[in-house]
């Protein structure tokens, strides 16, 4: 009975009605932060001592890489909640997080390649532990998308994609540790969990704005996607029919 609040949280209708107003504000916050961060980072932050202007791609690459990992945690944890508590909303979050995460991971790999060419001297280095584990992350996202599309029965799809997502979580610490445990071409972390960064403040502040902006954008994209999934899976219920007939479903 202590779990009542938790089950209420899992009501798709409650979620849909509560999060309606958040979409606009998250989208607005993302737009402002990303615009400010992009202008600041690309236009006003100083050039780097060794890399010149090439380093500026960090303003896009690092937030994307952060979110590709954070998004995986969101997918795997909501998959586990869906598996254990049979919570419909958690399954919807898991399904929605997969394509968003796949796109972010692809863009992190792509921007990394664009950054690698002028600095390292190569677009891509298959054998680098950081790049290989990021490729694996991309394939795990694709695996969840594929499993979701492979079953007629949504319950089966949710169960098996949750298991894949949970098994894949072991890749996240490997991704994080890859630049420390093994010799690699990729540099270490710029912003460490244990505090302290190795970036000059004049370059770091716009990066922080970009990270905040990308987090808002991620929340916005995930929310939009989950809300669409709620309507899709609950289309037979009376409240969705009422919503559609009153033309308020956005």
């Amino acid at each position: 009975m202590g779990w009542q609040w938790f089950h209420r949280l899992g009501s798709p209708r409650w979620f849909y009605e509560k999060t309606g107003p958040w979409v606009f504000w998250l989208g607005l916050a993302a737009l402002i932060l990303l615009a400010v961060g992009t202008l600041w980072g690309l236009g006003f932050a100083p050039v780097e001592r060794l890399q010149g202007n090439s380093y500026r791609i960090i303003y896009i690459h690092l937030p994307l890489a952060f979110l590709s990992m954070a998004g995986y945690y969101i997918m795997a944890i909501s998959g586990a909640i869906g598996l254990i508590w049979k919570m419909k909303l958690a399954d919807m979050v898991m399904k929605s997080a997969a394509p968003i995460g796949a796109v972010l991971t692809f863009l992190a790999l792509f921007t990394g390649a664009v950054w690698g060419k002028p600095t390292w001297g190569t677009w891509f280095e298959w054998r680098d532990p950081r790049i290989a584990s990021t490729m694996l992350l991309f394939f795990l996202y694709l695996g969840v998308i594929a499993l979701q599309a492979s079953y007629q029965n949504q319950q089966m799809a949710d169960r098996f994609s949750a298991i894949l997502a949970i098994v894949g979580t072991v890749n996240i610490p490997i991704m994080y540790g890859s630049v420390y445990w093994w010799n690699s071409l990729h540099q270490g972390a710029t912003i460490k969990f244990t505090g302290g960064t190795s970036m000059h403040p004049s370059m770091l502040y716009p990066l922080m704005v970009m990270i905040a902006g990308f987090y808002c954008f991620y929340a916005y994209a995930l929310l939009k996607s989950v809300r669409a999934e709620v309507l899709h899976r609950e289309y037979r219920t009376q409240w969705v029919k009422d919503l559609v007939s009153s033309n308020r479903a956005v």
Binding site: W3, P46, V47, E48, R49, L50, Q51, Y55, I58, A80, L83, I84, W85, P118, T119, W120, G121, T122, E125, R127, D128, P129, I163, I166, V167, G168, T169, V170, N171, I174, W181, W182, N183, S184, L185, Q187, G188, A189, T190, S198, M199, H200, S202, M203
Partner: protein, 153 residues
Amino acid sequence: MHPVRKQRLIFVLFLVFFAGAAAALFGFALRENIDLFYPPSKIVAGQAPVDKQIRAGGCVLPGSIKRIENSMTKNFIVTDGIANLAVTTDVILPDLFGEGESAVLTGKLNGDGVFVATQVLAKHDETYMPPEVADNLNTADHVKTCKGLDYGT
């Protein structure tokens, strides 16, 4: 907690635990192969195969870069602070390649213990600073990748 849910929670925890254990064993078995490159000390000690394509990585010894006149050939030395490895190459070097900076090389070790590189990549570290700040500081202290290396002998 409901016993069925508890059972499913235990299942999820086991899944994470065994996937983690499998990954750890896999990583342990392949620990040598996951490294992108051999450090110079291992190559000099004869732990790397001769005349087979391998990668080497280390810091370019300051003052060691020599360009051969009227040719593309460049000779330099990479070090990990323990041993020095002589390298020769005729490929174009990346902009960030330089003395005291880190580099990753692909190529073959010849019979004389010289590494013939067919690809030279520059490795940069995670410190980012404007040039005027770098000028005010002792730059060497801030080049982390090659920091604290004993370049002597």
